[in-house]
C-alpha cells in the first residue's frame, strides 16, 4: 500500500506526514505527530473525546481521514493554553472540578472554545445542546456546565477591560 504524503497545519505550525489513506486524522495526530492530547473514546463519532477544529469547524477527528488534512488548518487541545498559562476555560474546569478521569476533557475544552467563539453568552440550555456530543461518564455534566458558564462570564469581563 502506498502511503500518502500530506502537508498540513496543526495549531499554526506546518506539519508533513505520511499515512495510510484509510487512517483517521485521530490516528495521525496521536501516533504520527505525537499530539496525544486528542483522545480516542468510541472511534465512531459518538463521544466527542477526539474533537478538533478542522478549517474552523468542530469535528470528530475519528471521522476524518488523515489525507483530508491536506492543506487544512487543524487546531487541537495542544494549541489551547500551555503549562505556564492556562486558557480561561481550562482554569475554570480546574476551579469547578469539572473533570475526574480526564479522558473527555481535551475534547470538551476544544468544544467549549468553539461554543464560546460562536456564542460568547450561551444559556445553560444552549451550552448543554452544543456539548451534547461530548460524553462524560464521571462528572454528571453539572460541574462541566458550571465551568462553561463561568468561563463565558469571565471571558466577557476580560474582553470588556
Amino acid at each position: 500500500m502506498t502511503k500518502a504524503h500530506v502537508t498540513t497545519s496543526v495549531n499554526g505550525d506546518p506539519y508533513e506526514f505520511l499515512c495510510e489513506p484509510g487512517e483517521t486524522l485521530l490516528t495521525v495526530l496521536r501516533d504520527d505527530l505525537q499530539l496525544t492530547g486528542t483522545k480516542e473514546g468510541c472511534g465512531s463519532g459518538d463521544c466527542g473525546a477526539c474533537s478538533v477544529m478542522l478549517n474552523g469547524r468542530l469535528v470528530c477527528s475519528c471521522l476524518v481521514l488523515g489525507v483530508e488534512a491536506e492543506g487544512a488548518d487543524v487546531q487541537t487541545v495542544e494549541g489551547i493554553g500551555n503549562k505556564d498559562s492556562l486558557h480561561v476555560i481550562q482554569e475554570k474546569f480546574l476551579e469547578h472540578a469539572a473533570l475526574q478521569c480526564g479522558i473527555c476533557t481535551p475534547g470538551l475544552i476544544v468544544s467549549v472554545k468553539a461554543l464560546l467563539e460562536e456564542n460568547p453568552n450561551p444559556t445553560e440550555e444552549e451550552a448543554r445542546y452544543y456539548l451534547a456530543g461530548n460524553l462524560c461518564r464521571c462528572t454528571g455534566y453539572d460541574k462541566i456546565i458550571r465551568a462553561v458558564l463561568d468561563a463565558a462570564q469571565t471571558m466577557k469581563e476580560e474582553s470588556a477591560i
Binding site: 463519532g45 470528530c60 471521522l63 489525507v67 451534547a132
Partner: protein, 291 residues
C-alpha cells in the same frame, strides 16, 4: 481494516471516470460520518474512496430564480447557519440540525444523508416534502430524479456504477407557504428517529391550504411521500378533522418494524401525531409566525 485508495478529483468528469473505471469497490466520500465508520466494518478487501469535496459547487448553496441549488456535500453546520435558507425552508434546516452532534454536523452533509439511505435519515422526508430533485452525473451525462424515487431500500439508492449526486435542487415555494420537520426520539439529543414527519404546504389569502406534501421517515424501509395524507389537508383550514384524517392516512401508509427504539404499533401511532403537529407548525410559519 479495509485497505483504501484515496482520490480527490477536482471535477465531476474526473470523479465519474474514477468511479466508473475502478476495479475495486468505489465509494463517494462527502462528510464521512457514515462512510468512515463503515470502512472499519466492511468486508471489502480494498476500497476506492473518491472525496468529492474539492469539486466546484459541491460545498456551496445558492438561490436561483427557480429555488435552492444545494451542493450535496455542504456540511449541516454550514447549512443551519445560513439564514437565507432557514427563512425559506425552516423545516429542511431543522432536519439538518437534528443530525448527530455539533461535531457530526461539522462534517455530515445532506447529500451523504440521502445517499446513505438510512430509513431514519432526518433530511430525506424534508427534501421529499419540498419536492427536491437530485441531479445525477454519470458517464452518459446527467439525469434528474425526485428524492422520493432516489432511495430504493434500506441503505440502497438508484445510483448506477460511475454515478454521483452533483446537485440537489429544491424548487422555490409559492407565497404563503412553509415547511416543518419533527422527529420523535426518547432523548433530547444524539439519537436516531423512532419516527419523523415533514410537511410542506401553501395557503391562500383565506388560510385555506391549497397545496401540501407530507413525507414520513423511520416507519418503512424508505422515507415515504404520503399523498393520501396531503389530500386530507388540501382544501381545509387544517381543522381538527382534517388533521385527524391526515394523521390516520399517514399511520395507514406506514409499515414500521419493532426494534429497541419502539414497537411497530407505537411507531404507526406516533408518526400520525407528528404529521398533525408538523402540519400545524408549517401552517403557522406560512402565516408569518416565527415558530
Amino acid at each position: 481494516m479495509v485497505s483504501v485508495v484515496y482520490e480527490a478529483p477536482n471535477s465531476i468528469d474526473e470523479a465519474v471516470r474514477l468511479l466508473k473505471e475502478s476495479e475495486i469497490p468505489a465509494r463517494v466520500l462527502a462528510g464521512g460520518t457514515d462512510l468512515i465508520i463503515q470502512n472499519n466494518s466492511t468486508e471489502d478487501q480494498s476500497r476506492l474512496i473518491v472525496d468529492v469535496k474539492k469539486i466546484d459547487g459541491m460545498l456551496e448553496a445558492k438561490f436561483s430564480k427557480d429555488g435552492l441549488e444545494l451542493g450535496p456535500s455542504m456540511c449541516c453546520a454550514e447549512l443551519t447557519a445560513r439564514g437565507d435558507i432557514k427563512q425559506i425552508f425552516p423545516g429542511l434546516v431543522e432536519a439538518a440540525y437534528l443530525i448527530g452532534s455539533t461535531q457530526v454536523q461539522g462534517r455530515a452533509s445532506i447529500g451523504g444523508n440521502l445517499c446513505n439511505a438510512s430509513p431514519a435519515a432526518d433530511t430525506i422526508p424534508s427534501l421529499i416534502a419540498n419536492k427536491a430533485v437530485c441531479i445525477i452525473s454519470g458517464s452518459d451525462g446527467e439525469r434528474n430524479i425526485a428524492v422520493e424515487d432516489f432511495v430504493t431500500g434500506v441503505g440502497t439508492n438508484c445510483l448506477r456504477v460511475g454515478e454521483l449526486v452533483k446537485l440537489i435542487k429544491v424548487p422555490m415555494p409559492s407565497e404563503r407557504s412553509s415547511d416543518a420537520y419533527l422527529r420523535f426520539i426518547p432523548r433530547t439529543e444524539m439519537d436516531i428517529a423512532v419516527a419523523g414527519a415533514a410537511v410542506s404546504l401553501a395557503l391562500d389569502d383565506d388560510d385555506v391550504c391549497v397545496s401540501a406534501r407530507v413525507a414520513i421517515g423511520a416507519v418503512a424501509p424508505t422515507a415515504l411521500l404520503v399523498e393520501s395524507a396531503a389530500a386530507c389537508l388540501i382544501g381545509t383550514k387544517l381543522d381538527v378533522v382534517a388533521l385527524k384524517n391526515a394523521a390516520r392516512a399517514a399511520s395507514e401508509s406506514s409499515s414500521p418494524i419493532s426494534d429497541r427504539r419502539g414497537t411497530a404499533e407505537y411507531r404507526r401511532h406516533i408518526v400520525g401525531v407528528l404529521v398533525k403537529r408538523a402540519a400545524k407548525i408549517a401552517m403557522q410559519r406560512a402565516q408569518g409566525e416565527k415558530v
